[in-house]
Symmetry: C2
Subunit: 201 residues, 2 copies
Amino acid sequence: MAHPYSERLQKLMKSFTKFPGIGPKSAERIVLHLLKQDRAQVEELARLISESKANTFFCERCNNLSEKKMCHICDDSNRDHTILCIVEEPKDVASLERTGSFNGVYHVLLGALSPLEGIGPRELRLERLVKRIGAGQIKEVILATNPNAEGDATAMYLAELLKPFGRIKVTRIARGVPIGSNIEYIDQATLQRALEGRTAV
Amino acid sequence: MAHPYSERLQKLMKSFTKFPGIGPKSAERIVLHLLKQDRAQVEELARLISESKANTFFCERCNNLSEKKMCHICDDSNRDHTILCIVEEPKDVASLERTGSFNGVYHVLLGALSPLEGIGPRELRLERLVKRIGAGQIKEVILATNPNAEGDATAMYLAELLKPFGRIKVTRIARGVPIGSNIEYIDQATLQRALEGRTAV
């Protein structure tokens, strides 16, 4: 039996199965849905994908996603640049921003400490973070890594690392967040509570 | 609060939510996953999407997806061109082909009769189908529309339509398939049984 789809379509379906949460059946539905859209829409999607990749960088200060050298948060003089919130991923910045209850700035680690995966302080470029904090403007650091094993270990490590900066208050988001979960999935109210209830480390 | 993602990324996320089964959260994950891939991979995906759309047409004989004027099934002289299987969508052809137990040819309606959605015999271009069947080569027609209200109505309508062709055997796939479901989700064994157990209408 010949495969029911052309090699090109098979390849496209396979590309989609590489995405999180998309299996072969979903990929098939996505591709067939694409083919039902009109040509202009499909071209627009292809262009958007290509341009998004070409124009999105990591902010040179905080590692957040940005179309400029510096992201719109770091570049915003209305934000409180004395409070730094440390998160694992850009999507965590998005989640915290959606609560509307944080007006400080961020640092995105782009990961968490994980000896099993070979991710140590060097991979997270923590020396760069320490340099940023050592520059003197920051008065409080909020550790908002995920409330799971890697995120907790990362928070503990960072708390130790920041001890020499005695004048800086180091806090961890409150344990209102369910243990073992991921920040991106937590509802806004819980996240807001976790920000408000932060405790000294 | 400014939106946490650039306008371009928001637009891309929104494009993905138009796909079946993809909500805002999945779209966010897909886009962030895209940005983590290397530039070449992303360009390849964009190119594949664009080329797939540009090079995929409906077979001029059966409406199946094809990169040529005629699909590889219609163009295959090893297939039995006297048995015609009528399905709703190209993905149904794919499902039936995967069973490996059908060696005839197909006709894809690209829909089913649905008065509520304004889809009647004209929208399904049934006159074209009748013309194809009237050409004389076909000896048996298998009605493999979905075993739900629209699919059953479509099968009944087609059976009536084909009555004048008394010499043609018209069958419906066996009711081994669960009522109310969609053909694309049925396991191969059940589909195979349904093909084998087809009954005269």
